[in-house]
């Protein structure tokens, strides 16, 4: 097994409001090996976007990273100065943010977007080198070089998203974070974009974290799956194992309620609602909706523990399971 290129330990992010702290991410802990694909899945409010912003130290006030370590290839990002962190962003860890295609500057040509990003990290390249490098980048995502001279509004959604992927990898990061990269795209373009992303990732031998809520997409793309609920990571494991035999009650419910193309007209939901992150009741975050809740579930939060090799769960039901 490759060495871990990213190690996250006990990451906590709080939002300070007049009414008290909102615990958006609590004790998030996971490893990412070189070249590995991790999927972070959860519903809205589960903390997945907050977590990835925290990895890049891009959480803005009133949010605060309260504690935790994020170690990339031996360097703890939390210990760096702002300038050192700035240099890490994009070059060690890069982010393709949600709805990235909407953040392309409408009055700048595509090539200027690339020049900006590259020059922010490496002022040594001259214009000719920049042009060559950008052309290579757009070709690597399956676009023709003439795209460089166009404005964002001249491109389709899929093309814009691929431009954003190219920008995300232009500094050859070790970890790529893609936050819902295909949410506004149709199924056919989604597949093309994901296949492009996968190919790029393999070429760079980078690790990738895919954030989203589409379990189908996760099943198709990732190696390892992490389930988030109410700001906590409740299960992590190899994707095939998690789908075949989910360990956490929430994961089980989530997988059971997925609509399938085999059985018609069977609708299952998960009763109840996510707990407030502001005044969370004591105990496990899921206990109000959990069919197996008992005793300790009401009193203390469960810790993510490795119950089988490579399989982590935050649930006492499996605490005694041997390797």
């Amino acid at each position: 097994m490759s060495a871990a290129v990213l190690q996250v330990r006990n990451l906590c992010v709080h939002y300070d409001t007049d009414a008290g702290p909102i615990k958006a991410a609590e004790n998030v802990t996971f490893d990412l090996a070189k070249g590995e694909r991790l999927g972070l899945v959860g519903e809205s409010g589960s903390g997945k976007s907050t977590t990835v912003l925290a990895l890049l130290r891009m959480v803005t006030s009133p949010g605060r990273i309260r504690s935790g370590q994020v170690v990339v290839d031996g360097t703890d990002l939390m210990q760096l100065s702002p300038e050192q962190m700035r240099r890490m962003r994009g070059s060690a860890v890069s982010l393709i943010p949600q709805a990235a295609m909407n953040s392309l500057n409408p009055v700048m040509r595509i090539r200027d977007h690339f020049y900006d990003t590259i020059r922010a990290h490496d002022r040594s390249m001259d214009r000719r080198q920049l042009a060559e490098h950008s052309a290579q980048l757009v070709e690597s995502v399956g676009l023709r070089p003439n795209v460089l001279g166009m404005y964002p509004h001249e491109l389709s959604g899929g093309m814009k998203q691929r431009v954003c992927i190219a920008m995300g990898i232009c500094l050859q990061p070790k970890v790529i974070i893609a936050d819902e990269p295909t949410s506004a795209l149709d199924v056919v373009v989604q597949r093309q974009v994901m296949e492009t992303l996968g190919r790029i990732q393999r070429e760079l031998d980078a690790a990738i974290i895919l954030v989203g809520h589409d379990m189908g997409l996760m099943a198709q793309f990732v190696d390892k799956l992490g389930i988030m609920y109410a700001g906590r990571l409740v299960e992590v494991g190899p994707v095939a194992d998690v789908f075949r035999e989910p360990l956490h009650p929430y994961t089980r419910l989530l997988i059971n309620t997925l609509p399938s193309l085999d059985v018609k007209a069977v609708f299952k939901g998960i009763p109840g609602t996510t707990p407030s992150l502001l005044n969370a009741p004591p105990g496990c975050a899921f206990h109000q909706r959990c069919p197996d809740a008992s005793g300790s579930c009401y009193e203390s939060d469960h810790v993510l523990t490795e119950v089988l090799p490579g399989r982590w769960v935050a649930c006492p039901c499996y605490a005694g399971a041997a390797a």
Binding site: M159, V187, V188, Q190, E195, A219, I255, T257, K264, G269
Partner: protein, 343 residues
């Protein structure tokens, strides 16, 4: 066959924008010769599926009478929509209800959610007293599983997206319509809440005999809820038929591409490598020459680029607009409605 409830016959909708000095105006064919029939008995439950730009939303608006077709007609119980005035139009409005995609924008932020529920009763049943109205609202909320004390008296931003959408379902069901047009009702709702909403739609069909038109880009939920499906691409009908067979055995190359690209939630069944990914297409097809899918079709022939393919009737409950099936008889306008009869 009895008069269908709602019928679109060869409707076309063209949007044109005026040019100005130095800039040509542009013409967009949003819907190109589409036909759809909704029957009352047994009530149809049809999916209109396609990607963004396919024309499915415009078709739904044509069916709801919110826009008028450029050519072709929409008939409500045999009467052309344009002829409906006054009381007849009110009867149509009451009989055909809608649920829209965005659970927040459908509410007027100035009012509490009660307003959205009271308004239709006040318009369609003006003789009801305040108590009677309240009773109707409570009953409808109960049907969708919402508690009155958690819902009424609140502003839209105080409810969750799932609750807001369920209130809209309640609103649609409240006055016993014959048809509900649901335009992507769950795409902006959390996964765990989708099931409840889709289940209410199916119950409305099974238990209350309400016909459902379900517009979506998600073939999986279309499969779950509906019996028939109309696949649209770039404004044109590409395939019509029984949803089970269309999805399990797609005939049109576009449907095949779409079904092959669905990310199945099964890590052992990854995207088939043999479904050829089409080259990227840019923008919408704005001319009506030939098949709109021709630029991306792996089986394209010369005729495809020249003449728009008609619907070929492949068997009793399937029609495909593709020259690959040109040996099958062409579907006549009268036959189209038979395609939508539930299996």
């Amino acid at each position: 066959m009895t008069t269908p409830l709602l019928e679109a016959r060869n409707v076309t909708k063209i949007f044109s924008s005026r040019g100005s000095i130095g800039k040509k105006g542009s013409v967009t064919v949003a819907v190109n010769q589409a036909s759809l029939t909704i029957h009352a008995d047994p009530p149809s439950i049809v999916a209109i599926a396609g990607e963004s730009g396919s024309g499915k939303t415009t078709l739904s608006r044509l069916l709801l009478g919110l826009v008028s077709p450029t050519s072709g007609d929409v008939f409500y119980r045999g009467r052309p929509m344009t002829a409906l005035k006054g009381d007849e139009r009110m009867a149509f409005r009451r009989d055909v209800q809608a649920i829209f995609q965005d659970p927040f924008e459908v509410y007027n932020p100035f009012y509490r959610v009660d307003h959205a529920l009271e308004m239709p009763i006040k318009r369609f049943e003006p003789t009801k007293s305040a108590d009677e109205r309240r009773a109707m609202i409570e009953k409808a909320l109960g049907v969708v599983g919402l508690r009155v004390d958690e819902t009424l008296g609140r502003y839209p931003h105080q409810l969750s997206g799932g609750q807001r959408q369920r209130v809209m379902v309640a609103r649609a069901l409240m006055l016993n319509p014959s048809i509900i047009v649901a335009d992507e009702p769950v795409s902006m709702v959390d996964a765990s809440l989708r099931a409840t909403i889709l289940e209410s739609l199916l119950n409305a069909h099974d238990q209350l005999a309400i016909a459902i038109i379900y517009i979506t880009h998600d073939l999986t939920t279309a499969y779950q809820v509906c019996t028939s499906i109309l696949m649209m691409y770039s404004g044109a009908m590409v395939e019509v038929g029984n949803v089970d067979r269309v999805i399990k055995d797609p005939l049109h190359p576009y449907t095949q591409l779409l079904v092959g690209s669905i990310p199945l939630p099964d890590p052992t069944k990854r995207w088939a490598a043999n479904v050829r990914s089409a080259t990227s297409a840019s923008g919408q097809h704005s001319t009506s020459q030939g098949c709109s899918f021709a630029p991306r079709c792996p089986h394209v022939m010369d005729i495809c680029r020249e003449v728009t393919p008609p619907l070929f009737r492949v068997n009793a409950d399937r029609a495909v607009a593709c020259y690959l099936y040109r040996d099958a008889p062409v579907v006549s306008p009268e036959d189209v409605s038979a395609l939508y009869i539930g299996a």
